[in-house]
Symmetry: C2
Subunit: 191 residues, 2 copies
Amino acid sequence: MPKASKREQLLDAAKELLWEVGYEAMSPRDIQTRSAARPGSLYHHFPSKLALAGEAMSELAEKDIARIQGVFSGDAPAMETVGRYLLAKRDATRGCRFGRLVNEASIEHDELRGPVKAFFEAIRTHLAGTLARAQAEGTLPTELDAEKLAVTLLALVQGGAVLARTYKDESLARQAMEGALSLLAEASRGA
Amino acid sequence: MPKASKREQLLDAAKELLWEVGYEAMSPRDIQTRSAARPGSLYHHFPSKLALAGEAMSELAEKDIARIQGVFSGDAPAMETVGRYLLAKRDATRGCRFGRLVNEASIEHDELRGPVKAFFEAIRTHLAGTLARAQAEGTLPTELDAEKLAVTLLALVQGGAVLARTYKDESLARQAMEGALSLLAEASRGA
DNA sequence: GTCTATAGGGGGATAGAC
DNA sequence: GTCTATCCCCCTATAGAC
């Protein structure tokens, strides 16, 4: 494995800081300190802080989308997979590393919005497909709209992160998920 | 009605800016410009930007909590009230004015966290009470945990705001709510 | 109670040597 | 490709006149 270039070190530092403090609060100086790089290096490799952050977010999204692919693959019953996704371990008291950025002013820039949307889209698609499969398996009433329900569950996970961060308490997110799962279980009795 | 004092003008400006850009991105200069006040006035009436924002948030929460009280009062069937709350008109593409602050570093300070928690608590309590009433009315299965379900719906509204802001599209929030309502309707058939 | 003036520090970025 | 040195602007806050 080749020695990490300054470029990679800068990207790694940006990824860490984006998760820890977000975009606006991450200054080029912070990035430089953490990557042991100097202003010249940052602006040699990237035209701006935004460009660096955009590339960092893009790589983070790509990696997380691949990870989530794993959660939704396999041949477990569809509703079991949905449950596994909703109850997956998350560092929820820190929020969602993608959802966190949504309220920053700079989400206006596609460099940041793009990766966030890509992340959400991947989850929504997986959920919609899995819920449709549940309907085929007879564990979810076919009167329900799988696409809409996928948006509901995606929103739920994001909202759970908001509550967990607000209360500094993971259990708020867990309660939100469990409430939804009990509702899904109840509805499935009519399938 | 007495002429607005600089103090009130400063609070009003802070309220507007907290909604438009959030806390960190709202500079004392912005507040001063919008309220036609000068640095001296701001720091005469408030010890810091944080104290001003805290008081502004506190007043905003108080007002919104009173408004929401209205949504949950009246003698409509409980599940109808829940639907009314979930589908209430929101400026969702801008996010939730309370949930928005949760990801800022300064949420660490109780001046900001307090009002946000108070807002969430008020909604959670109203939802839990209304869902319990639905169970008494026979429109929600008693096996479900009304308290947990209240957290679920609170999270859902927050998540809907995150999605709507991400996609600059209110319909994402609406889909999330409709999905949840269809699930509640389905579950209620077993009540 | 409101004003003018200003301070100290950090923000994002650039120039140019090596 | 990485470094040192530096720029200009805005951030939050303070001092003290009116």
